[in-house]
Point group: C2
DNA sequence: TATTGACTTAGAGTAAACTCCAAGTAATAT
DNA sequence: ATATTACTTGGAGTTTACTCTAAGTCAATA
């Protein structure tokens, strides 16, 4: 698969794909004789995992570290486990922050829905 | 309340507090005669809201816009409602991404927990 | 009184994650 | 054969959100 096809499949620019590979977040991709990238199924699996994690907010550094450990083989199971657990903790924190903000947003929204109808905002202990 | 006290109360640097005010994310704070910031309760309420939203990942621009609308008074109820709804949508998307990533992380973690014990990673349809 | 420390501003610097550009090579359509 | 398009690399530029520095004012302590 060419870089363009991959770029379209995952809605991500070719520049970003090259960037990910250059910094070691995506393992090195095979090339044709003339040096053009030819993504394999395994590359796509990696990419899918990477994008899932990036979309959730994992930092690039953490993903690079995981890819590095993976490339070092079976001796790194424990390190990979630790890394994954650490990242899960971070996501759980982030999730908690989002839930808090969503609660607050929903409360505000319900107040503003009334305000739009009645023309005045009901009293609230926190104004803003 | 001085900038330092606020900074300590919210675990955020004085620089960041000044920055937030300068860019209009925090409404202008009252000053003493000599020009030193003196945060009121209302300032703290704003700050608390702002930090809740920032911690969840809301962009500064959106918060600035909300503060601006708020300062314009009752004529902006609808605009504020629209803004809040838009931000809620964004957070819901982000939350969904996090849940996806957490599912995947948890699955990987359980596989690696076995791998660490047995010394080999069980087969998986997506390797990486 | 001297100096230490907190505060002020404007503006420069930094980190993360892209995103774009220039210059060149390769493949393809006419 | 030529023109167009896609690809390559290395490096520069951009955006977001801070973070730091310099130069100066003000308050409090030795």
């Amino acid at each position: 698969m060419t870089i363009k096809e991959v770029s379209e499949k995952f809605h991500i620019s070719s520049d970003t794909l090259r960037y990910y590979e250059r910094i070691g977040m995506l393992p090195p991709v095979n090339r044709t004789d003339s040096g053009i990238r030819d993504y394999t199924n395994e590359d796509l699996n990696w990419l899918e995992l990477i994008l899932c994690m990036r979309n959730a907010g994992l930092q690039i550094e953490a993903i690079i570290e995981y890819v590095k450990l993976y490339s070092m083989g079976d001796a790194t199971f424990e390190a990979r486990l630790a890394l994954l657990k650490e990242q899960r903790e971070k996501l759980l924190c982030q999730q908690a922050q989002i839930i808090k903000a969503l609660d607050r947003l929903s409360y505000k929204i319900s107040r503003y829905e009334v305000a739009v109808k009645t023309g005045s905002l009901s009293w609230d202990n926190e104004k803003c």
